[in-house]
């Protein structure tokens, strides 16, 4: 009799700890793509609207949020298309941060300049497999512009952006057209040179 109770106790202890393990590892319900994008975009807006922050600090925070929201490697792969294979392992390692800096400078400036927008999160549309498009609109006093975030589920199960489609124009496809053009006539090293130069020019 005693023995049974003890076994039961042990069993339930194991059950409880297993449950805790499971609960701890996986949230009760995984966030949907739309919820994920909404939460991240709202964090960006929060930073932009915080008037007490210096621009430097804002940039720093936005960079961190970009890393949370976007998968730079996936975005780079989509931007390079089949040319991804033309880059060696070390060239890829250099490409990722360079490309990120180009994007950061351009879109960072742009984003910091505006903050009176309201973002409406419309819906999510499956693209294929584990890819989903989250459709939003940025609304200002007089205008509105559709902005669609394309996300995929990364290895850890988090939805990450790999493309933004602004008014029907896909960012990665636009860069792909440029990378194709450059790599049709030059090798990967030259592409890196162009990126290095771009980053340098942007800094000056």
């Amino acid at each position: 009799m005693k023995r049974t109770t003890k076994t039961t106790k042990i069993r339930s202890a194991i059950a409880v700890s297993l449950l805790a393990l499971v609960l701890g590892a996986v949230p009760a319900r995984a966030a949907t793509p739309l919820e994920t994008v909404r939460a991240e975009v709202n964090k960006v807006l929060e930073v932009l609207r915080n008037k007490s922050l210096k621009e430097e600090v804002k940039r720093e925070k936005l960079r961190a949020l970009y890393g949370e929201m976007f998968d730079q490697e996936e975005l780079s792969k989509w931007s390079l298309g089949r040319n991804w294979n033309k880059l060696s392992e070390s060239q890829r390692r250099e490409f990722l941060p360079l490309f990120q800096q180009v994007l950061e400078k351009t879109y960072g400036d742009r984003i910091l300049a505006y903050s009176d927008e309201r973002i409406v999160f419309d819906k999510e549309v499956p693209i294929s497999g584990n890819r989903v498009e989250v459709q939003t609109r940025a609304i200002t006093k007089s205008k509105e512009i559709p902005m669609h975030y394309r996300v995929f589920k990364d290895k850890s199960g988090k939805w990450k952006c790999y493309d933004v489609v602004v008014e029907n124009v896909s960012l990665v496809m636009n860069y792909r057209s440029q990378f194709n053009e450059i790599l049709a006539k030059n090798d990967a090293e030259e592409l890196l040179n162009i990126l290095r130069k771009k980053v340098k020019d942007q800094k000056s």
């Binding site: 949907t32 739309l34 919820e35 792969k77 989509w78 298309g81 089949r82 991804w84 294979n85 180009v102 994007l103 400078k105 351009t106 879109y107 400036d109 742009r110 984003i111 300049a113 505006y114 927008e117 409406v120 999160f121 419309d122 819906k123 999510e124 549309v125 499956p126 294929s128 497999g129 890819r131 459709q135 609109r137 940025a138 609304i139 200002t140 006093k141 007089s142 205008k143 509105e144 512009i145 559709p146 902005m147 933004v164 602004v166 008014e167 029907n168 124009v169 896909s170 496809m173 636009n174 860069y175 057209s177 440029q178 194709n180 053009e181 450059i182 049709a184 162009i194 990126l195 771009k198």
Partner: protein, 314 residues
């Protein structure tokens, strides 16, 4: 003859033609009605502004593979990345590239040396709400273009929407200065249809890329489209010709004043601005043709909804 001459002069003076809802991107500027947002919108640059000269090339179209080898190609990554949907890989032939690049440079200078300074001076004097209203006014006058093209595409709901918009905005919207029809309560959104899209919906391909001086990115199809739209835009019938020219010039300046900075941002982001804008133009126009259908109010926050926001096709 007179009309042709007039058309040529006009084209030559007006940057942002915009026979349709959004202002053209002639040189560089994106359309006024499209927002200046955090992220510069390429699409705005992609507005077609065709010119008559190219009309005869209309038939030569055909979706040739881009001379530039743009975007085409499979994405067989070694690490198992899935293929990019074919529809995404939009390409356009560019046999006139040397000419086009020269025109691109011309339009670029025109923007920085003429249009932008003028528009900045104008902005300094006229407050933004007034400029937005002027934009609305011209947009309202372009209603016939959108109405006719909805009809030509058998989008009867779209045509009715445009008709009601025109009636409402011309009256309670004070001759089009305001857009009450598009407001939250009424929700009749502008249906951006133009003749280039109508031709596209009939199966006419873009053909090849053309950059017209003053008018910006185009193609034989969209050039033909622009000529068609010219005739359904009331301003085109202004007499004498210089009145018309003045109005179109003013329209271009007003449009530009609402989008200063967008073109600059697109150039800044690009490694090759010419290629970037060419690609944005074809992506944008392709999507416009594909999503033809009545533009309704998207329902916010419907997680998992599987239908595209706009595509209630006929």
């Amino acid at each position: 003859m007179m009309r042709l001459l007039r058309a040529l002069v006009l084209f030559a003076l007006l940057l942002t033609g915009c026979a349709h809802g959004l202002p053209a991107a002639s040189a560089p500027g994106p359309p006024s009605e499209a927002p200046v947002t955090a992220v510069a919108s390429y699409a705005q640059i992609a507005q077609p502004e065709p010119l008559p000269l190219a009309a005869q090339e209309g038939g030569a179209a055909g979706t040739a593979e881009g001379a530039a080898d743009e975007g085409a190609g499979e994405d067989d990554f070694d690490d198992g990345m899935e293929e990019v949907p074919a529809a995404e890989q939009v390409t356009i032939a560019d046999p006139w590239e040397p000419f086009n690049r020269a025109m691109f440079t011309f339009n670029d200078r025109l923007y920085f040396w003429v249009l932008k300074p003028v528009a900045e001076g104008y902005s300094a004097v006229v407050p933004e709400p007034a400029r937005v209203s002027v934009g609305n006014f011209f947009s309202n006058l372009r209603s016939p273009i959108r109405f006719v093209n909805c009809l030509l595409q058998a989008q009867f709901i779209g045509a009715a929407t445009e008709l009601f918009r025109f009636m409402l905005n011309s009256t309670i919207g004070l001759a089009g200065l305001f857009d009450p029809a598009g407001g939250e309560e009424i929700g009749l959104l502008r249906q951006d249809e133009d003749f280039g899209q109508t031709l596209g919906s009939y199966g006419v391909g873009q053909g090849f890329y053309i950059v017209w001086p003053f008018l910006g990115p185009s193609s034989p199809r969209d050039t033909l489209g622009m000529i068609g739209d010219y005739f359904s835009y009331p301003i085109s019938y202004l007499d004498p010709w210089y009145a018309w020219l003045a109005v179109r010039g003013y329209q271009a300046v007003n449009d530009t004043s609402l989008q200063i900075g967008d073109y600059e941002a697109i150039k800044e982001a690009a490694l090759d601005p010419y290629i970037s804008i060419r690609n944005a133009y074809i992506q944008y126009r392709q999507k416009k043709v594909e999503e033809r259908g009545t533009i309704g109010k998207p329902k916010p926050d419907v997680p998992g909804a599987g239908t595209p926001a706009r595509g209630v096709g006929p």
